[in-house]
């Protein structure tokens, strides 16, 4: 190494050392907002973690409730099957000359009902009605729907007593091809009611003339087989009120931070079907508006004015109560649910599924004087949002009003599965919709 190079080496090290010393001892002033920005990011990260934990709890709860419901239903079905199997009802072939008070001819899917002419005070009634075994009415709905009788004299099947307690005729297996038969209940040993259960006194079916209102939907749709009687279709309307915010992520998210909540309003029509086992399927159409009437204290940052905002179609404001960034969406939910009946009126309802949201419009009102800065969001800016999918979770309470109406109160959480920002704004950070709302709705059950 030459002397010149040695000098260079020495100078270079000295240069570096001097520079390092000077910079190491230097402590420039920080802007006051820097810690606020860091704390803001910390809060957001922490709340994300907490939200994830809550989501896990919520999903676990839903799974638990669904599992318990399925177990309960399976158990009930099993019990019912056992009860029917063990029922000590005998079927005897009638001997010649004996005239039963009622005769039942029961081929596999046919019930023939006759009155004994010698005892009847009314004219004899005869009908044939197809009753698939699987669709027998349940004990709690023992009104026998017979379209032929409906016009003249609807009949009711009255329960009768056996060793196991009350037995509903509708529960009896329809399987005999030997006609005519007589149903005889077994006496209950030691029971004071034992004597009442024998022979002709045991009349499982009493024809009770009764005038009643004929439901046209029942008459014209369900009875004609257009709708499976095991499901109950419904239509309804509902209204949501809540809060929404847009979760911001991506390379320029620091410019926007966490958007503050906007008001969320939604009205919709929903249609669905409710199955006998409590499961439901629902869809519909909702018109949703998110606005900023409740927009306050939005992203007050000292350095916002210096940002290269460009054409970002978002409202950057400091101040309170401004009607900007109004978005209008059409939402199409596709939901599955489970309704657990607590009693004849109240039920618990849980729903989950996805929603497809389509942007209808976006507007930003001209800034008022109290805006410190605002992008020209509106007609001059390309549509900043695009259609997106979101995940729905909801739990609530239902109240049955009479036979057809049901009122629902439900809390919902919705979170975007796909980004809602349009690709024509490359500077626009990635956004996911998040909604929390309360819903009130009313349904008409078609049955």
């Amino acid at each position: 190494m030459s002397n010149e190079n040695l000098n260079d080496f020495y100078n270079q090290n000295r240069f570096n050392q001097k520079l390092r010393e000077r910079i190491d001892g230097y402590e420039p002033e920080l802007s006051d907002s820097l810690w606020d920005r860091i704390e803001h990011d910390l809060v957001r990260k922490e709340s994300k973690g907490k939200r994830a934990v809550w989501m896990v709890y919520l999903l676990a709860g839903l799974l638990l409730v669904s599992g318990a419901g399925i177990y309960y239903l399976a158990n009930e079905n099993h019990k019912l099957a056992e009860k029917v199997k063990d029922k000590s009802t005998t079927v005897e072939t009638l001997k010649g000359g004996e005239i039963p008070s009622r005769v039942y001819e029961m081929p596999e899917t046919t019930v023939k009902v006759e009155r004994n002419p010698s005892q009847a005070t009314q004219s004899a009634v005869e009908t044939r009605h197809t009753v698939p075994a699987a669709t027998n009415p349940t004990p709690s709905e023992a009104i026998y729907q017979n379209p032929t009788f409906a016009e003249e004299a609807p009949i009711e099947l009255n329960p009768f007593r056996t060793a196991e307690g009350l037995v509903y005729p509708a529960d009896l297996p329809v399987q005999s091809t030997e006609a005519p038969v007589r149903l005889v209940g077994s006496p209950v040993p030691g029971s004071p009611d034992a004597i009442a259960i024998s022979g002709k006194d045991l009349a499982p079916i009493a024809l009770t003339p009764k005038t009643r209102f004929v439901n046209p939907i029942q008459e014209n749709i369900i009875n004609k087989g257009a709708i499976d009687p095991r499901i109950t279709p419904y239509i309804g309307i509902s209204s949501d009120l809540g809060s929404t915010r847009q979760l911001v992520s991506g390379p320029l998210a620091w410019q926007f931070g966490q958007e503050h909540p906007l008001i969320y309003k939604s009205n919709g029509l929903n249609v669905g079907v409710l199955f006998r086992n409590g499961l439901s399927l629902e869809s519909g159409l909702r018109i949703t508006i998110t606005g900023s009437e409740l927009w306050y204290d939005f992203m007050v940052r000292d350095n916002r004015d210096t940002l290269p905002i460009g054409a970002i179609a978002d409202s950057i404001v400091s101040g309170a109560r401004h009607d900007v960034n109004r978005q209008n969406w059409t939402d199409v939910p596709i939901l599955v649910g489970y309704r657990y009946r607590l009693n004849s009126h109240w039920s618990l309802n849980a729903q989950t599924g996805v929603t497809y949201s389509m942007i209808n419009g976006f507007s930003g009102v001209e800034p008022t004087q109290s805006f410190s800065k605002m992008d020209k969001a509106g007609s001059s800016v390309p549509q900043p949002f695009k259609n997106y999918w979101s995940l729905n979770l909801g739990v609530g309470l239902g109240y049955q009003l009479g036979h057809h109406w049901m009122v629902d109160l439900q809390g919902n959480y919705r979170r975007g599965l796909t980004k809602m920002n349009a690709s024509n704004l490359p500077n626009h950070p990635n956004r996911l919709m998040e909604v929390v709302n309360a819903r009130i709705g009313i349904k008409y059950l078609i049955r």
């Binding site: 010149e4 190079n5 000098n7 260079d8 100078n11 270079q12 240069f15 570096n16 001097k18 520079l19 390092r20 000077r22 910079i23 190491d24 001892g25 230097y26 402590e27 420039p28 002033e29 920080l30 802007s31 820097l34 810690w35 920005r37 860091i38 704390e39 990011d41 910390l42 990260k45 922490e46 390379p251 620091w254 350095n303 210096t306």
Partner: protein, 185 residues
């Protein structure tokens, strides 16, 4: 008021205690801003680097081993964040340099005659690639091989960028010095 020890500070941050997080910030932020300033174009970018760095620090503080100095650990995160900040954005451009490192002679430059603020401003005015190499080599003490690995460039590029940066820096500081002296004539 007694000074909070490093261990206490770290433990508080591990527990996500906001008080200790702020104390850690207050202890190191200004010093680290000086580091970040030497990597960035302006104070605005430097503050963004500091913001990102402290989030990383609070996220990863569980990994801090008390055997090393806390100051050094925090500084390493700031430097890594600064290099990542530019690398991710693919903003570093290493312009062609035709400087023979051996042929370039370092003149003597008395740093004591300049305010640190002026030195940093001169560093910030350097082209991005040269600035990164210069800061990593001269201030952080990286070797050209380490710089090459960090910035994904060759050792030769690192050397030539450093020489260019040093030359430009000296020119800028001398110009500033002359300008200042004229003002007082």
């Amino acid at each position: 008021m007694t000074q909070i020890s490093d261990i206490e500070l770290v433990q508080g941050c591990v527990d996500q205690n906001r008080f200790y997080q702020k104390k850690l910030y207050e202890r190191f932020a200004r010093k680290m801003l000086a580091v970040a300033l030497s990597y960035s174009r302006d104070s605005y970018e430097a503050e963004n680097i500091i913001q990102e760095s402290f989030i990383k620090i609070f996220d990863h503080i569980k990994r801090y081993q008390p055997t090393g100095s806390l100051d050094g650990w925090v500084r390493r995160i700031v430097v890594n964040t600064a290099t990542d900040y530019y690398r991710k954005k693919k903003r570093i451009k290493f312009s062609e340099v035709n400087i023979d490192d051996e042929a370039y002679h370092i003149g003597t430059l008395d740093f004591d005659s300049f305010a640190v603020k002026d030195i940093l401003e001169a560093v910030q005015e350097l082209p991005e690639g040269s600035r990164m190499v210069f800061t990593l080599y001269a201030i952080e003490g990286y070797t050209h091989k380490e710089i090459g690995e960090t910035l994904e460039i060759s050792v030769g590029t690192s050397k030539s960028q450093f020489s260019r940066a040093r030359m430009l820096l000296q020119e800028k500081l001398k110009k500033n010095e002359q300008r200042e002296s004229k003002r007082f004539l």
